[in-house]
């Protein structure tokens, strides 16, 4: 593997990017600079690599269709990059001290594009479906919705409803801003299984409505003339300024970039990191909104051979040179990880010292644990070689190059990781539930850090990512404290302890900041904002002349 050559090229590219990014264009923030006067009309073309997941309910909303849904449908709240929930369709809300009951007060006069009212009854129907799904139609629940504690949604009057839970659920309000938590008309919720994917039958209340679409290829939206209920976070009222938005699938990333340069598109999603510098030098803007969630990294399966040993996990933790990963694979838009939470998560701490690159420490830890270098440099103990297969995530395009660097770094301390690049089917078959795979890559956004409590153990349907079940007393306690928290400040303190413990124990091996959605666009586009999960809202956007 020619990592040195790659590293050299990318370092140069990164250097140009840094110069261009810092000297020519400001580092992107959560909203592009709204300089100049607003212009009505205009047509924005947005190129993306896929619209494959279809237009069904709940779990069918993915990164790509989620961007389209963000323009067609509204949410109850808007969650910004700092995790703050602000009013949208829910004008305000009340919470009981136990965080088990939430009363939502809805805006009046809001309608879906099929003309039906967006009232408490419609919201209750949406929340019920998010929480429970409908297996009689093959519809799963909404991933990351706090279903395990959900009790019911009760309509109080046309514009007020009460949502109750069986246990404290601090994450409820932020989750309402999740990109999959889009409000749909009741008729859309009740479609038959063979109609669920028909976008023309899916009605939202958003600032844009469907003009035309072709399954998994394109969607054309036009602004809704009577829209006047945008999120409080957007300084705009009345209909959207953009007349039309076209979302079009162009699978090849370099063609997307070329189309943008040729003026055939205004926005493209997810360009390879090494192409960003060239695009910047041509005057295009690179917007890399921070996304709430986990950083890129690996969760460690403690049941995997050798990874039950603390010394092995800690050796891996200190064998990773995170700065080298950023320098080699990414650009200055990415930052090395300082914990396993993204830096904009309010509860994220700076645990850089626990992640310090220290190969000598790794070697010492392994030596002390009896892992001695073999003839080929790979460490051996009791006749067992310290080797494993490292599977690149098929969902993350940068996973493979990152893993290539990681395998080289591990090799330097005597750990032999063999990179395996497989498709989604094979990945699921080989990695999911396989206790022989020690490191499993994770890439996940969330809007409330309460999700962290759910990965620690298998209590209450927890994901148990470290595979301790409920045998680790510290994790049991921490998971319980996060789950039962009724006060964000107290929970933040617990989450600091969770981060320290998990990183010290080598249970999560962070690699780099996660930029799941990276937008390259014409500098003429102004006024768009991004949610805490880095999804754009073009309600307030316009195109300069």
């Amino acid at each position: 593997m020619n990592a040195d050559r790659r590293s050299f090229g990318l370092l140069i590219g990164g250097g140009i990017a840094a110069l261009a990014g810092n000297a020519v264009l400001p580092r992107p923030s959560q909203a592009s600079t709204a300089a100049g006067s607003r212009r009505e009309g205009g047509h924005a073309t947005f190129l993306l690599s896929s619209l494959e997941s279809g237009w069904g309910l709940n779990e069918k909303v993915d990164t790509y269709t989620g961007i389209v849904w963000g323009q067609i449908a509204d949410k109850l709240v808007h969650v910004d990059a700092q995790g703050n929930a602000t009013a949208w369709i829910a004008e305000r809300w009340d919470e009981n001290p136990d965080q088990t009951e939430f009363v939502l007060h809805l805006k009046r006069g809001v309608t879906f594009s099929d003309g039906t009212p967006l009232d408490a009854r419609a919201v209750a129907a949406n929340i019920d479906l998010w929480a429970k799904g409908d297996t009689s139609r093959g519809v799963g629940r909404l991933g990351l919705f706090p279903s395990s504690t959900y009790r019911a949604s009760e309509v109080i009057d046309d514009h007020t409803l009460r949502v109750s839970f069986t246990a404290p659920t601090l994450s409820f309000i932020p989750t309402l801003g999740y990109h999959k938590a889009v409000l749909r008309a009741v008729s859309s919720l009740n479609l038959r299984p063979n109609e669920l994917g028909d976008l023309s039958k899916q009605f939202g209340s958003g600032p844009f409505v469907l003009q035309s679409w072709q399954e998994s290829d394109n969607v054309v939206l036009v602004r809704r003339q009577d829209y006047n209920w945008g999120p409080k976070a957007i300084d705009h009222s009345g209909p959207a300024s953009l007349e039309r938005i076209t979302f079009k699938v162009v699978r090849d990333a370099s063609l997307r970039g070329s189309a943008l340069q040729a003026g055939q598109a205004e926005i493209v999603l997810n360009i390879a990191p090494h192409e960003l510098a060239a695009l910047r030098t041509r005057g295009l803007s690179v917007v890399a909104p921070e996304s709430l969630g986990f950083v890129s990294g690996f969760v460690v399966n403690t049941r995997a051979p050798h990874f039950g040993e603390l010394s092995v996990r800690q050796a891996v933790q200190h064998a990773i040179n995170r700065q080298e990963i950023v320098d080699t694979v990414f650009t200055s838009d990415w930052a090395p990880a300082r914990t396993f939470l993204q830096s904009n998560v309010p509860e994220a701490g700076d645990f850089s010292s626990l992640l310090a690159y220290d190969p000598d420490k790794s070697k010492r830890l392994l030596d002390e644990a009896g892992w001695r270098p073999g003839r080929d440099g790979v460490r051996v103990k009791d006749g067992q070689r310290l080797r494993f297969n490292l599977y690149a995530s098929p969902w993350v395009s940068t996973s493979r190059p990152v893993d290539e660097v990681v395998t080289q770094q591990l090799r330097k301390v005597g750990i032999a990781a063999t990179l395996q690049v497989v498709d989604i089917s094979t990945y699921n078959a080989r990695v999911r539930g396989n206790d022989n795979v020690p490191l499993v890559e994770i890439s996940r956004s969330f809007l409330d850090a309460g999700v962290v409590g759910n990965i620690l153990t298998d209590a209450n349907g927890g994901e148990d990512l470290f595979r301790y079940g409920q045998t680790n007393a510290t994790l049991n306690r921490l998971a319980g404290e996060v789950a039962n928290a009724v006060d964000r400040r107290a929970r933040a303190a617990t989450l600091q302890e969770v981060q320290r413990h998990v990183l010290e124990q080598g249970l999560f091996i962070p690699t780099a900041q996660l930029l799941q959605r990276l937008y390259v666009q014409t500098p003429k586009l102004k006024g768009e904002i991004y949610s805490g999960a880095a999804y754009p809202l073009y309600y307030g956007a316009w195109l300069e002349a």
């Binding site: 279809g54 991933g143 028909d198």
Partner: protein
């Protein structure tokens, strides 16, 4: 009352076609089931969803994917024979609608590519026979080999970069426009034109060495008449076979060309279905491809006698026509 040889032959081929389609359907079903994983897990076990396998089990059960493979196959075949292609697991839309929506674009592209490839092949073949050697006849004869060596996706990207982005002749966001379709057809048809040209040149050379060709030339026929009547016509039988075989190649090649040019067709439908193991869609497309392949070969069988009087005489004597492949 006995059937005419033509009708009897056609009926026999149609019966064979039905068997081929059912076998293709069954084989595809079994191959998909041998692959690891299932479509629901592939879609839902994306780490961004946060689902556990236990949570998606009811959804897998809803689609019947937890049942034994023979039972699933029987259910699928029972529906298929009455024309029910099922629902796409990925898009929750009827498969028949997805295929019908995608088909016109692919047929347009394939037909355009076929026209482009025939035109190019004819021009190259004509030049190979009639261009004086000193004016680059050797170079002309080398074109097919060079064209075959360049993958169509490279040609496609090159055409887009130059003609869409540099000259602005078409927009990648309007892939069904005339210009975009023409360039996509060139990308897809170029390798096929090379194959046809190679076969055509070989046969034209062969005909040019025949006695009757020398006699015709000695009678003072014009160059065009000589080429059309005594070289091209007898050489066109293998071209018909090549075209029949090329249909499969064009349909297969559309998978890549459609993806590059951003066209919504059968190729992109297959690509999306294959990446998620959306087997109702895959089964429908494989069956469609089998039907098209068999139909085109049947058509080629019926055309041969029109081009070759010897075959007409054989059919009159109730001797079945040879298969397409034996005439290459």
């Amino acid at each position: 009352m006995s059937l005419s040889p033509h009708v009897s032959h056609a009926a026999s081929r149609i019966a064979q076609a039905v068997v081929v389609v059912l076998l293709a359907y069954t084989a595809t079903f079994l191959i998909i089931n041998v692959l690891p994983g299932d479509p629901i897990s592939n879609m839902l076990l994306d780490p961004d969803n946060g689902f556990t396998p236990e949570e998606i089990a009811p959804i897998i059960a809803y689609y019947g994917l937890d049942r034994p493979v023979p039972e699933q196959l029987w259910t699928a075949l029972s529906r298929f024979v009455v024309g029910d292609l099922g629902i796409s697991l990925r898009s929750n839309l009827p498969v028949s609608g997805l295929v019908l929506d995608a088909l016109p674009s692919t047929l347009t592209l394939a037909a355009s590519a076929l026209a482009v490839s025939l035109l190019l092949a004819f021009l190259i073949a004509y030049a190979s026979q009639n261009l004086p050697p000193r004016l680059g006849q050797g170079l002309i004869r080398a074109i097919p080999s060079v064209s075959l060596a360049i993958p169509s996706f490279i040609v496609g990207i090159f055409l887009i970069q130059v003609f869409a982005f540099q000259f602005g002749l078409f927009r990648i966001t309007s892939p069904d426009s005339f210009a975009a379709t023409l360039f996509a057809a060139i990308a897809l048809g170029l390798p096929v034109s090379a194959q046809i040209a190679e076969v055509l040149i070989t046969n034209l050379d062969h005909e040019a060495r025949q006695d009757y060709f020398a006699v015709a030339r000695s009678r003072g026929l014009s160059r065009a008449a000589l080429f059309g009547r005594h070289q091209l016509r007898p050489s066109s039988l293998p071209v018909v076979t090549m075209v029949a075989l090329a249909v499969g190649e064009l349909l297969g090649g559309s998978l890549i060309t459609e993806a590059i040019f951003g066209r919504k067709g059968i190729g992109s439908l297959v690509q999306g279905a294959a990446s998620t193991q959306d087997f109702p869609v895959l089964l429908a497309v494989v069956s469609l491809a089998a039907v098209v392949f068999v139909a085109v070969n049947l058509l080629a069988d019926l055309i041969y006698p029109l081009l070759d009087p010897r075959l007409r005489r054989r059919q009159a004597a109730r001797i079945p026509a040879p298969d397409a492949e034996t005439l290459v």
